[in-house]
């Protein structure tokens, strides 16, 4: 009934064929990357878990206090203590490791791309629709091709998370640089600055608060991916939520969910503050 008289365009077959070609020929590279990244993330998580939780909680609480003030410090203290109390310490550290790794990659790629988009009009025109695509495509879809490249587990989850969480870093870096007043750019030019000097000494420092807002958004989006990431075998708070869904245990689900919320609030308050401090 809803079939068009024309034959169906084999879009899915094209994509599958393309992906198959790439996996057949290049997956040995991505697999190697995958192993290293996984080792790195696990190493980080192991190092943190090596200390008793209360040491880490106190250190993080003091760090939060120092950066964002007493309220955030106290919230961090009690929030993480609650997580420990609920028996979610290990999975929370695992989630934190994934989020931090994904954020580092997303920001590491996103900021340079954002700079390029701000300075090169052509690149801006090309990348903006791609960003729209990245942000609106349901995130689950990225998981499917990630598996043949990176295998089941944390690296595929990270790959999907990076793609989903990177756009704000690019957009807000670009916006921050474009928002630098023209008169300051003119002044820098009038004194004979090179483009690089202008970028380093004027544009980036003045764009920092906006760029940090982008970083903050990237972290928040990474956190929102944890449950989805769990679907391809990334352990962590997302895994707990997923298990609670499968076994219909609303209480357990809420516990893990609250863990995500606490982590989100701590990371949000800290990164927001970093951005404003630079102002």
């Amino acid at each position: 009934m809803d079939k068009m008289p024309l034959p169906k365009m084999p879009l899915s077959r094209w994509i599958d064929d393309g992906l198959n070609y790439l996996t057949d020929n290049y997956s040995y590279i991505t697999k190697a990357i995958s192993d290293n990244v996984e080792n790195g993330i696990n190493w980080f998580a192991d190092k943190i878990l090596f200390f008793p939780p209360w040491v880490i909680i106190i250190v993080l609480a003091l760090l939060a206090w120092w950066i964002s003030g007493r309220k955030v410090g106290l919230f961090t203290l009690f929030g993480l203590a609650l997580i420990w109390n609920l028996g979610l310490w290990k999975v929370t550290i695992s989630t934190l490791s994934l989020v931090l790794a994904a954020t580092i990659v997303a920001v590491g790629l996103g900021v340079p791309l954002g700079i390029l988009a701000a300075l090169k009009r052509g690149f801006h025109k090309v990348i903006m629709p791609i960003l729209d695509f990245m942000q609106t495509m349901p995130a689950f879809v990225y998981l499917i091709p990630a598996i043949p490249f990176f295998g089941l587990g944390i690296v595929s989850a990270m790959f999907a998370t990076v793609i989903f969480a990177m756009p704000p870093s690019i957009r807000l870096t670009s916006l921050g640089i474009k928002q630098v007043p023209d008169e300051l750019i003119e002044a820098a030019d009038a004194f004979g600055s090179t483009s690089f000097q202008k970028l380093l000494k004027i544009q980036l420092p003045l764009a920092t608060p906006t760029i940090m807002t982008g970083v903050n958004q990237t972290i928040m989006l990474s956190l929102s991916m944890v449950v989805i990431a769990a679907m391809i075998g990334a352990a962590g708070l997302g895994g707990e939520v997923l298990r609670a869904i499968q076994r219909f245990q609303p209480g357990k689900g809420f516990e893990a969910g609250i863990g995500v919320v606490i982590l989100a609030i701590i990371l949000d308050r800290i990164t927001q503050r970093v951005g404003r401090k630079e102002e």
């Binding site: 007043p181 300051l184 003045l206």
Partner: protein
């Protein structure tokens, strides 16, 4: 150079110094829009800015402007918004690329320069001051002033030292570690000026530099710029929409309208001989006393006394001229003082043979650039005319109350 040429270049004869052309601008055109070359053709065909806009949608910024600026001169480009003055100043250091025409700085064509040469030129020869200050908000005052040197990779200590000197020059010592937003508008613009001066440029480009300041601060800054110019002797191009400011600051004024030069001349030329009705309207409301200088209202000195003259000689000279005091000069015409008739009459009786004992040495003098406005209050206070002297203290002329009033009246009459 021959002997008589040298003589000519002495300031007292004709008032001209031999000067060098610093900036020369030839048929400079800037048209904004797609395919701006068409605009150049329209301009050459004699169309006006409005006609070109209507016909092609192209906006003419600067239309065939030519002029020269001499080394050490303060040129004011004056015009209302949309007259193309801000575009013009940016064409000189090529912050905006001209559509056609030439700009020579020290004889080198700026319009032909490659990016690196242009950057070098901007670093070494130009300092720019902006209307809205354009200070970098994330840098401290001293870091702002250092900026021009920083990008030239000058060593940290050296650039800091130069920056501090520049800050001292503009009277902001002690503020170096503050941030721009902690300073008032006037102080921020001093920082802008210091930033431009720190690189020790030949040329200062000042784009409406004082327009954003309130009137009192503005006047103060103008006075300081004049003082500063006397000390540092830069070539300055100053953009303004304020005629009073133009008249006060300019050695030469260029008046612009619709991208074209309407009149070019000294402040007095523009006031006393406006070239068009437009200029005439402009200068209508100008307070003449701010513009007329000692030079234009002074009277030539027909008779002076010399120190070796006796009191009788001095009295005779005064009688001939019908005056009650006489200025005393030496052989080089350098002013020694003034002698009053009543004092001379006294020593005739005591039999002294020279004027030495009665010369009043502590007298008020003005230079030929002093404005009538400044002279007025002096005149009412003293009993003899005011002497106008040059930088070597040579007597150029005298000013009496009547000549000031006559000068003012004359100016106003000429004006319309």
């Amino acid at each position: 150079m021959s002997e008589d040429k040298l003589e000519e270049s002495k300031p007292e004869e004709g008032g001209f110094k031999k000067t060098k052309t610093k900036i020369r601008i030839e048929n400079l055109i800037k048209v904004f829009g797609n395919n701006p070359r068409r605009g150049v053709d329209f301009l050459k065909a004699g169309l006006t800015k409005d006609e070109i806009m209507e016909k092609s949608g192209l906006a003419v910024g600067v239309a065939e402007v030519s002029f020269e600026v001499e080394e050490g001169q303060l040129l004011v480009v004056m015009g209302l918004s949309g007259s193309g003055k801000s575009t013009l100043i940016r064409l000189i250091n090529r912050l905006i690329d001209p559509t056609s025409g030439k700009v020579f700085v020290d004889g080198v064509d700026v319009t032909e320069m490659k990016q690196e040469e242009l950057r070098e030129l901007r670093r070494k020869k130009f300092g720019m001051v902006f209307q809205r200050f354009a200070l970098f908000p994330h840098k401290t005052i001293v870091e702002n002033v250092e900026y021009g040197l920083e990008i030239q990779k000058v060593k940290r200590e050296e650039r800091k030292e130069k920056a501090m000197q520049a800050l001292e020059l503009v009277g902001l010592k002690g503020w170096e570690d503050n941030y721009p937003q902690q300073l008032s508008g006037g102080m921020q613009q001093r920082v802008g000026l210091a930033r431009a001066l720190a690189v020790d440029p030949d040329i200062l480009l000042m784009d409406e530099a004082f327009s954003a300041l309130d009137p009192l601060i503005k006047k103060e800054m103008q006075d300081e710029l004049i003082l500063l110019q006397n000390r540092v002797q830069k070539t300055i191009i100053f953009i303004t929409h304020d005629l009073d400011e133009a008249l006060k600051l300019g050695d030469k004024i260029i008046l612009m309208k619709d991208g074209m030069v309407v009149q070019e001349g000294t402040p007095e030329e523009i006031l006393t001989h406006p070239a068009t009705e437009y200029v005439e309207k402009f200068v209508e409301d100008v307070n003449m006393s701010k513009v007329l200088t000692a030079q234009s209202v002074m009277r030539r000195v027909d008779n002076v006394a010399f120190p070796k003259d006796g009191p009788r000689t001095a009295l005779r000279k005064m009688r001939e001229e019908g005056i009650s005091s006489i200025f005393v000069v030496n052989q080089d015409f350098q002013l020694q003082g003034v002698v009053l008739a009543e004092d001379a009459a006294k020593i005739v009786k005591t039999g002294e043979s020279t004027l030495d004992s009665i010369i009043i040495k502590d007298i008020t003098t003005v230079c030929k650039e002093t404005t009538v406005q400044e002279i007025f209050p002096m005149i009412t206070d003293i009993r003899h005319p005011i002497a106008v002297t040059d930088e070597n203290n040579r007597l150029l002329g005298v000013i009496v109350r009547g000549s000031v009033l006559a000068g003012l009246a004359g100016g106003i009459n000429n004006n319309g």
